[in-house]
């Protein structure tokens, strides 16, 4: 299993173009520690290597496809309600591309 340390978290954060404070990295590392231990518990279950990964709980299929019918949009006010900053009816974000 991947070893989570601060260097890896910094690399991941930088890949996503943000940074965090040392305290925040500490909190995150502790959380990863808990998660890793829980995953290790799962790993202790016998015969796991004989179980194939599954996506769906039941082996079922459907043939349903939605008819191509358009329905009314949410109102513009609702769409923009959670946005911190709106310019010309669009959500304003910091620019992250050159």
């Amino acid at each position: 299993m991947v070893k989570y340390d601060k260097a890896l978290l910094v690399k991941c954060a930088n890949n996503l173009m943000f940074d965090m404070s040392d305290e925040q990295y500490e909190v995150l590392l502790k959380e990863f520690d808990v998660l890793t231990k829980q995953m290790e518990l799962l790993g202790e279950i016998d015969g796991l290597e004989n179980v194939s990964p599954m996506t769906f709980p039941f082996d079922i299929y459907t043939d349903y496809l939605r008819d191509d019918v358009e329905e009314p949009s949410l109102s513009k006010d609702d769409i923009l309600r959670n946005a911190k900053d709106v310019v010309d009816g669009q959500i304003k974000l910091p620019k992250v591309v050159g």
Partner: protein, 476 residues
């Protein structure tokens, strides 16, 4: 040293369905920002994706046109990434099981030869939202988020800018004629990313590949590749390695410019989309989608050739879908007149549309009325100039040629007996012309026909008049 280019192309095609890939939000272009958005497009909690039937039908039709193997089971995957262009934090796509695989398209090159380009895969996915990058911020419009796409990925078998341009044109023609997309590169409904690398001729190792984006026309696909191949060759000849990077085509400078270096490969942590249960498509569903597919450009081409059009004429009629529909409606009424319809459409009709800045969709003349004009001209009931006059009136009120000709009193007289009596009386009035003709002055014929046209106010069929004048003069 000679180099060989290795080119692979990924094409994203926006479908012109009514609703989005997984939501019932309206598929739109040019609408007011953030006005065509359903809760799923905004990733509101509790919303679930439901696959659009028409999008699946479209994907089947394009796969079939590209000679692909069609998967009768639909599986979708999540492509996980964190960016503002998709609020869910992932894009739903078909990574593991594309609906279409292992196909090909044949392209015709300028030297007359043809080449088969194999296609690795065709899959369905959802488009991202539109981001407008301003000087100091980015503005986000979710109208496009969730628009159905097909992505078509070629094998790296393309070897030149010309081949790439022909390939993109072939794909564009297929998605336009199957009515899957309007295929407008300039509006972004067909977008292509090109991967270009070069290697010394004879080598079997691939060079470092460069991705070129922002190609908004077929001509620019060719220009960008030609530029990129020469740029890479110059670097290698100087001993400088090509770097793996993403470039875009700068239309003004006509060159590719660096956007970003490619460092670590992004790991999208693909996994099966758990909110869409696998969908089984019946054989009948797949076959119906294929059987009801609109006729492809290549099929139309063969049909036009069989109707007597030349290769150039057939190709010309496949350039514009709306014009093509009008031509097909005409040919449906009377296929034996295909060539004459073609002449009218590419002659007087196109001139009229251009002059008045109209599209063929705004053209009032119905195919049956156009046919009535063609028939009257063919029978000699109208002279060519009279036909033009009728046409000028027809574009206003779409009446039949017979009605317009009657109203304008334009009908050409082709009755041989009536014309003969006019010929006789005109020749009697100009005895000098008979003498001139006997003395070998052929222009006397033209003079007499002119007099006949004058006497009849232009209503006599000039060909018949000419023939009868010559016959009558010879008898005298």
């Amino acid at each position: 040293m000679n180099f060989e280019a290795i080119i692979g192309i990924e094409i994203h095609v926006e479908m012109k369905t009514k609703s989005k890939m997984f939501s019932s939000g309206k598929v739109s272009f040019g609408e007011e920002p953030n006005t065509c958005v359903r809760p799923l497009d905004m990733a509101f909690p509790g919303t679930m994706p439901i696959v659009n039937k028409q999008a699946v039908i479209n994907a089947i039709r394009v796969s079939n046109a590209l000679n692909m193997k069609i998967d009768h089971e639909l599986w979708f995957d999540r492509k996980n990434y964190f960016y503002s262009d998709l609020p869910k934090g992932f894009q739903i796509t078909q990574q593991a099981r594309p609906i279409g695989s292992k196909g090909y398209v044949d392209i015709k090159l300028n030297d007359g030869s043809s080449k088969r380009i194999h296609i690795e895969r065709l899959h369905m996915e959802e488009d991202t939202c539109m981001q407008h990058h301003m000087a100091d911020c980015t503005l986000v419009d979710y109208n496009r988020a969730g628009t159905p796409l097909v992505e078509i990925v070629s094998e790296p078998e393309i070897r030149s800018g010309e081949e790439a341009a022909k390939y993109v044109d072939a794909i564009r023609s297929i998605v336009v004629f199957t009515e899957v997309s309007d295929g407008k590169m300039e509006e972004g409904s067909l977008r292509c990313d090109v991967n270009v690398s070069i290697r010394p001729c004879g080598s079997d190792k691939y060079g470092t590949k460069v991705e070129v984006k922002n190609l908004n026309s077929i001509a620019n696909v060719q220009r960008a590749i030609d530029y990129e191949v020469s740029r890479q060759a110059k670097l290698l000849l100087k001993g400088i390695p090509v770097e793996q990077e993403t470039r875009r085509f700068d239309e003004i400078k006509k060159e590719t410019v660096m956007m970003r270096k490619k460092t670590d490969a992004v790991d999208y942590k693909y996994f099966t989309e758990p909110n869409i249960i696998p969908i089984r498509l019946s054989d009948k569903f797949v076959q119906d989608a294929i059987d009801t597919c609109p006729e492809l450009a290549s099929e139309k081409y063969e049909r036009y050739i069989s109707l007597g059009l030349s290769e150039d004429e057939a190709n010309q009629m496949l350039q514009d879908l709306s014009m093509n529909r009008y031509f097909d409606e005409c040919v449906k009424i009377d296929s034996s007149k295909a060539k004459l319809f073609w002449n009218w459409i590419n002659g007087d009709i196109l001139a009229y549309l251009n002059k008045n800045n109209l599209s063929i969709n705004q053209f009032k003349v119905s195919p049956d009325n156009l046919l009535s004009l063609i028939i009257m001209l063919e029978k000699g009931e109208l002279s060519f100039n009279q036909g033009r006059k009728v046409f000028e009136n027809m574009v206003i009120d779409n009446a039949s040629a017979i009605k317009i000709a009657d109203e304008l009193g334009l009908k050409q007289n082709s009755n041989v007996d009536e014309i003969q009596s006019l010929v006789d009386s005109v020749i009697d009035s100009f005895p000098q012309s008979v003498v001139d003709y006997k003395n070998g002055k052929d222009r006397a014929v033209g003079f007499l026909v002119g007099q006949i046209m004058k006497a009849s106010k232009g209503k006599v069929n000039p060909q018949i008049a000419n023939k009868l004048v010559v016959e009558s003069l010879n008898k005298r």
